[in-house]
Amino acid sequence: MNNYNPPKPVQKQQDSPIADLSYRNYNGELKTRGLRWWVISWTMMKLLKKNVGFWITSALVFLIYFLNGVQLYFTSNMPAGMNPFGGDEKTKYTLTFFQVNSGTNLLLFIIALTVGSGAISADNKANALLVYLSKPLTKADYLLGKWMVIFFTLFLETFVPSLVLYLYCLTSYLDKGFLKNDPMLFFKMIAAACVPAVMHASLLVGASAWSKAPRIASVFYASLYFGSLVVTGMVFGIVYRGDLERGQEVLKLSLSGMMDGIQQIIYHVTIKNPMATLAIPSPSLIVPLAIGLCVAGIAAARAKINAVEVVKG
């Protein structure tokens, strides 16, 4: 009797109809190009989630806002003669918002470097522009996408903690004239949050586009940021001999000074400290200068963004 059952031949995977490995093209929906810059911004922001340095710096920004909230709490319960606002209840909250914005500008600069130095330079290094611009994208789509990553990140870094602080003030000090003293504070807060975001974004896309590596862009931008601070500081020291009241216009010509000055104009507050009373700076010089720098940064980036190396001569 024959009990032998030969094994069935193993069916090869490619014989199976469900393993059809031949090429099939995509014939589905393709959206119009209206919001393709948003695809770039959103994807880059998702990549930012993995950056530990970004989260640490962001936490520090939140900490500064928190500490200012704590300070506000204590000063509200102090006698007028002891609190640092000198009992000036009218500008107390506006001044707090200006000071906390001003106090976080250095951290925002660090975040800007983290987010923006590699925005285009990393693409230059990896030849990614060929990938982007061989798709149905314009240079403007690409540039807007990259600009928005930096802008949104920095804007939210300022706006979100400001909003938390605002809501705290609204719930705690409404009866102490919080809204009545400065009804436009909310809008001023939004406008002030835009200032460093716009300036860093515009200048960093320019610096990043002209660099072949994120580190080079960082060094270049940091040199610009601190260099302008050193130069204006030296001019202030030599010409005005440390007279803050007379020389503050010069100090507002550095990058950080410009941001600070424009925020002070927006909040419309005079800073009184034991050394000097710093009046609201004149917008006639720093605002056009800041706008010019932003336009120059964007124009520099636009000139450099090309899918292929443009050989001349």
Partner: protein, 304 residues
């Protein structure tokens, strides 16, 4: 039907003329763009993509003007560049689906399609690895995947086998052949490697110094003029050659015991002449076949 038509195209890089009065029609199917370095192959591809603005002349891809419809053209085209390129910090799935989204695919479709295309390109196992850690062969494949993700009707492959080992090269060429065989995608392969073009393309465009010097289907170009026959003898047999030359046959070339003969155009039965001549001189014919030209012959003829 031509998928791309170029008429009198002139492209300058500063004072240097890269493409000079070039007119060409790229037919459907898989077309090879051949030429020595600096012939203008890549410049032609860049102009078709709208990356370069031509000095004069016009171009159309799928009936769209290269000067004014760059975005619409790029929607229908996939580009696999020659140099390594990727988006920093992304794994393969993210990179390819991102490329799909940039081309206008909805995010969910792009993600699904990215998996499909990566599997097709042989990167299924490595799809979650960061692209920066890929080997050269894998980087070539991912460039192909990002070019295919949005379902283009035409793909440009610029030196697709650069830096690949023999096995990798075989696989890449098989992929290219398979894609063009699907009939859904036309392929334009730019290369200076003749065997690559020979294995994958149905049509060839040969360029030199910014001009097209030869164009046609591979089959047509391979045909020889007149009657040419390749004969394999047992050993080198000079008397056999002399006997044929006495009858008006020309020896075109010889490699050891392998001869190529050109017969007069009115020759009716070349085989009979060969065998009778061999018999007369005591030579032994091992084989003979009508001669075809290799792509190398065509290329060398064209660029000389």
């Amino acid at each position: 039907m031509a998928i791309a038509v170029i008429s009198n195209l002139v492209v300058h890089y500063g004072t240097k003329t890269a493409v000079n009065d070039l007119s060409v029609e790229v037919p459907e199917g898989c077309t090879g763009l051949l030429g020595p370095n600096g012939a203008g192959k890549t410049t032609l591809l860049k102009t078709l993509l709208g990356f370069l603005v031509p000095t004069s002349g016009s171009g159309q891809v799928f009936g769209l003007n290269t000067r004014t419809d760059g975005l619409k053209i790029r929607q229908k085209i996939g580009m696999m560049p020659e140099m390594d390129c990727h988006i920093p910090g992304m794994n393969a799935v993210s990179f390819v689906s991102y490329a799909g989204e940039l081309a206008g695919m909805p995010a969910s479709d792009a993600l699904q399609r990215a998996h499909e295309v990566l599997e097709y390109c042989g990167l299924g196992e490595a799809r979650y690895r960061n692209v920066e850690t890929y080997s050269t062969g894998m980087k070539q494949r991912i460039k192909l995947a990002q070019a295919l993700v949005h379902g283009p009707k035409l793909i440009f492959l610029d030196e697709p086998t650069n830096g690949l080992d023999p096995a990798g090269r075989d696989e890449m060429l098989a992929l290219v052949r398979n894609i063009s065989a699907s009939r859904e995608v036309n392929v334009l392969v730019s290369s200076h490697l003749l065997p690559d073009i020979e294995r994958t393309c149905d049509n060839v465009i040969v360029m030199r110094s910014g001009k097209v010097v030869r164009q046609g289907s591979m089959q047509d170009l391979r045909q020889t003029s007149g009657v040419q026959v390749e004969v394999e003898m047992y050993i080198e047999t000079p008397p056999f050659v002399q006997e044929l030359e006495r009858q008006g046959v020309t020896m075109l070339n010889q490699t050891a015991n392998l001869y190529r003969f050109g017969f007069p155009d009115d020759t009716q039965n070349a085989g009979k002449i060969i065998f009778e001549s061999a018999k007369r001189v005591g030579g032994q014919v091992r084989g003979f076949k009508p001669a075809t030209r290799s792509l190398e012959d065509i290329f060398l003829e064209a660029i000389e």
